[in-house]
């Protein structure tokens, strides 16, 4: 069960290979992050799930059903989609934006609005904003509306394409925390695309590090990837070779250890250090 990419390839008419021979299993009720820099095909892969892009060869399966056999419009209505810059309809009020998919699915207006109000609460939006237009909201609020809209039809699957890429770092952290909380309540199958390594480490149960052309550099849990990067590419991408993630510890006067990165920036304190033969940090 879950989402299965089977040897998918995407070659555009001009000969560009966006993704080549990509295979992945995304387990149900977990979140998988596709991590890579631009041009690695991560968005293309994401959009194959709801048939916004059809693979040139190979197949994408949802719960063992090939999506190629599902009518795209019906498929998209049962998959949540959240994108960068929210993609909200600028001429519709927040409440109607959130209710879009419910209304497309034939839910009566009153019921769709009730559900939309519930979702505003879920994503931490003040219900006073319901009657506003997207242009009257801050970037962070717009993204919350985007998430609420993605959840409106109570989909099993949520596709998130750099949803927090365009908001400032503080708001991004807040949105990431909210998403973690929502996921702990709702347990959706999430595929999350990002180029932000910290975001990937925060949100992913499973992280897929991608090179150009959708080539998999490494698949693993956040811990596995930081602990034992598969190659120099992954290490470099994670910044493991840079000062930021190389930590050192120094004993404190009143016990415990003071931790800093390689440039000496203080990070925090730990009570004790794990014993590791031949190393002191």
């Amino acid at each position: 069960m879950g989402i299965e990419f089977q040897n998918v390839n995407k070659t555009y008419p001009d000969g560009t290979v966006a993704v080549d021979q990509f295979s992945l299993h995304v387990p149900s009720h977990t979140s998988t992050v596709l991590l890579g820099s631009s041009g690695c095909g991560k968005t293309t892969l994401l959009r194959m799930v709801n048939r916004m892009v059809d693979p040139s060869s190979g197949a994408v399966l949802i719960d063992d059903e090939d999506v190629a056999g599902v009518e795209p419009v019906a498929l998209r209505r049962r998959i949540g989609y959240v994108m960068q810059n929210s993609g909200l309809l600028p001429h519709r009020r927040v409440i109607d934006n959130i209710a879009t998919v419910s209304r497309l699915n034939g839910v009566a207006k009153a019921a769709a609005h009730r559900r939309a109000h519930e979702l505003m609460e879920t994503v931490g939006l003040d219900s006073a904003l319901a009657q506003r237009y997207p242009g009257q909201l801050s970037g962070g609020q717009q993204q919350r509306v985007g998430v609420a809209r993605g959840l409106a039809a109570d989909p099993n699957i949520l596709l998130m394409d750099e949803p927090f890429g365009a908001v400032d770092p503080l708001v991004r952290l807040e949105l990431q925390r909210e998403l973690t909380r929502i996921q702990s309540e709702l347990h959706k199958t999430i595929i999350f695309v990002t180029h932000d390594i910290d975001e990937a480490l925060t949100l992913g149960d499973q992280i897929v590090v991608l090179k150009k052309g959708g080539e998999v550099a490494q698949i693993g849990t956040p811990q596995q990837i930081v602990e034992s990067p598969a190659d120099d590419f992954v290490a470099q991408f994670l910044g493991l070779d840079s000062a930021r993630r190389t930590l050192s510890a120094a004993p404190r006067d009143d016990g415990g250890w003071f931790v800093s990165d390689a440039q000496g920036r203080p990070l925090g304190v730990v009570d004790s250090l794990p014993q590791h033969p031949g190393q002191n940090a």
Binding site: G87, L89, H91, P134
Partner: protein, 220 residues
């Protein structure tokens, strides 16, 4: 200068407005021609323009063909059509439609194309069908430009509708041609002024519509 004063005096004279051939009846006739021409043109041009804008196909063809059609002399076209169809409203109506269609097509596809592709992409990804994307996203958001196309067409047709009288139909052109033939320049001028006023009123009402639209959030 006398002609101008005479023309305004004529327009101020209630007798000149009454009766079946008076300014009142002719103005209504003129408006009716304009409205009919716009309606027929819109029925042809709006779907065509919307499809071009939505699919992105046929744009080059539309630009070239509308450019060519715009270069046609309307009076020539009316005369030519009248040679085949005889005296009456049909010949000028064809010419008005030919005149109006390019502006409406251009407005329609420009309107649809003006919608942010990200918004359209998002609408599709939420599960809107092509038809729903067109009717619920592209048309509402492109409305200011779509109306702009209608506005241009209306202005062209209301001015050109004067020529209907050239082949025996009515409208304010009747007064104009009558004045020309009887050397009644005050009447000619009065008819011209009436057409100008009609054009201004029509244009102003489109302006008001567009302004009201601009107040709707999300429509630029």
């Amino acid at each position: 200068m006398n002609h101008v004063i005479d023309a305004f005096e004529l327009l101020a004279d209630p007798d000149a407005w009454g009766g079946p051939g008076g300014f009142g009846a002719r103005t209504l006739e003129h408006l009716w021609y304009t409205a009919l021409a716009l309606l027929i043109s819109a029925v042809i041009a709006l779907p065509a323009g919307l499809v071009i804008g939505h699919t992105g196909r046929g744009r080059a063809l539309a630009v070239i063909s509308t450019g060519m059609v715009r270069a046609l002399p309307t009076l020539g076209l009316i005369t030519l059509a009248a040679l085949f169809l005889g005296i009456g409203l049909t010949a000028p109506m064809i010419a008005f439609v030919v005149l109006a269609v390019p502006s409406i097509i251009a407005g329609a596809y420009a309107g649809v194309e003006s919608v942010n592709p990200v918004t359209v992409d998002a609408a599709k990804a939420q599960g809107m069908s092509r038809w729903q994307v067109l009717t619920r996203v592209e048309i509402p958001l492109g409305l200011p430009l779509i109306i702009g196309g209608l506005r241009n067409a209306a202005l062209q047709v209301v001015a050109t509708a004067t020529l209907a009288a050239y082949v025996g139909a009515g409208g304010l052109g009747r007064q104009l041609f009558l004045g020309l033939r009887t050397q009644d320049y005050a009447m000619m001028l009065a008819a011209s002024i009436a057409v100008i006023l009609l054009a201004i009123v029509l244009d102003a009402s489109f302006e008001v519509t567009q302004r009201l639209l601009r107040r709707v959030p999300g429509l630029a």
